[in-house]
């Protein structure tokens, strides 16, 4: 169980910084095709912003309830990634061959570009949820009680 931080400086700065971190994470995620970055780093940054909100405002704050809801989409990232692969198979090609995505009005290279973006979103969702889930597992109060009681 993580309690909210006492200091008003930390609270105010956190309230200000968390949206900035989230916007930066989204920028890294969607700019990964044009510069350094990508799904993995963007997902970690998004997950870290949620960890920051839990560390600053505690487990029970209203902001952290939203973070707890994020845990329910565990596995959706994998579903997006494998689903894109499945869509490629439905389109008549190999698994994860984005050229067979059935989207009218797009040439092959643009389909591949779209496929890369979709799978990056999948990776980002998966990584962000996993990071938050691991932090929640590590900070659960039961661990400490278990280690004391043997």
């Amino acid at each position: 169980m993580i309690r909210p931080h006492d200091s008003i400086i930390v609270q105010t700065l956190g309230r200000f910084l968390i949206p900035v971190v989230q916007i930066f994470g989204l920028y890294v995620l969607f700019f990964g095709q044009y510069g350094p970055g990508g799904g993995f780093v963007g997902g970690v940054i998004l997950g870290t912003s949620m960890i920051l909100s839990v560390l600053i405002f505690g487990h029970d704050a209203s902001r952290s309830q939203m973070v707890k809801k994020v845990l329910h989409v565990d596995g959706v990232g994998m579903l997006i990634y494998a689903g894109v692969g499945g869509l490629c198979m439905i389109g008549g090609g190999e698994f994860l061959n984005y050229a067979n995505l059935e989207i009218p009005g797009l040439e092959t290279a643009s389909r591949r570009s779209l496929g890369i973006m979709l799978t990056q979103i999948g990776v980002a969702v998966d990584v962000a949820v996993t990071v938050v889930s691991i932090v929640f597992s590590l900070s659960a109060e039961e661990i400490i009680e278990d280690s004391i009681n043997g």
Partner: protein, 175 residues
Amino acid sequence: MIVSYEIPLLLLVLVTAGGAILVKDLMSSVLLLGSYSFFLSLVWAWLGAVDVAFVEAVVGAGLATVLFLLTLFGTNPKDTRLRRPPPSLATLIIFPLFGVLLLYAASDLPQYGDPNSPASVHISPTYLEQSYQDNHTPNVVTSVLMDYRSLDTMVETVVIFAAGIACALLLRRHT
């Protein structure tokens, strides 16, 4: 080439890595490990591997430090102070020998940036030349990771997912 900042950077990497091993307190060790990751990410950026540097800075210096600290907070305070036994004689003999062997092997490595090295004649030129026509993605690293080697990346994602599930199963017993 004028060596200005590479030598201090490598020295900092060595010093923080050694400090993380030698320091007595686990908390200091974790923080030293975080700074080690940060300096290592600077080394990656200097070598031109910007994507790797980004991952190292975000995951190594940021996330891993947070995870280590959370683990330490869940640990009994007397367990975080270390009494290290002195290294055994076999360690003192074998590890320097292993290091010398690695240095000997490193003399056979191709020069850094050599266009005739095996890594840059096999399939990398094809990727570099064809990537933009194939998938309109200027960043070749992303294009290789997400398109040419997409199945590998999917299995990596499965590994991350499995890690999260394993942590939840092992650590969250009562909820």
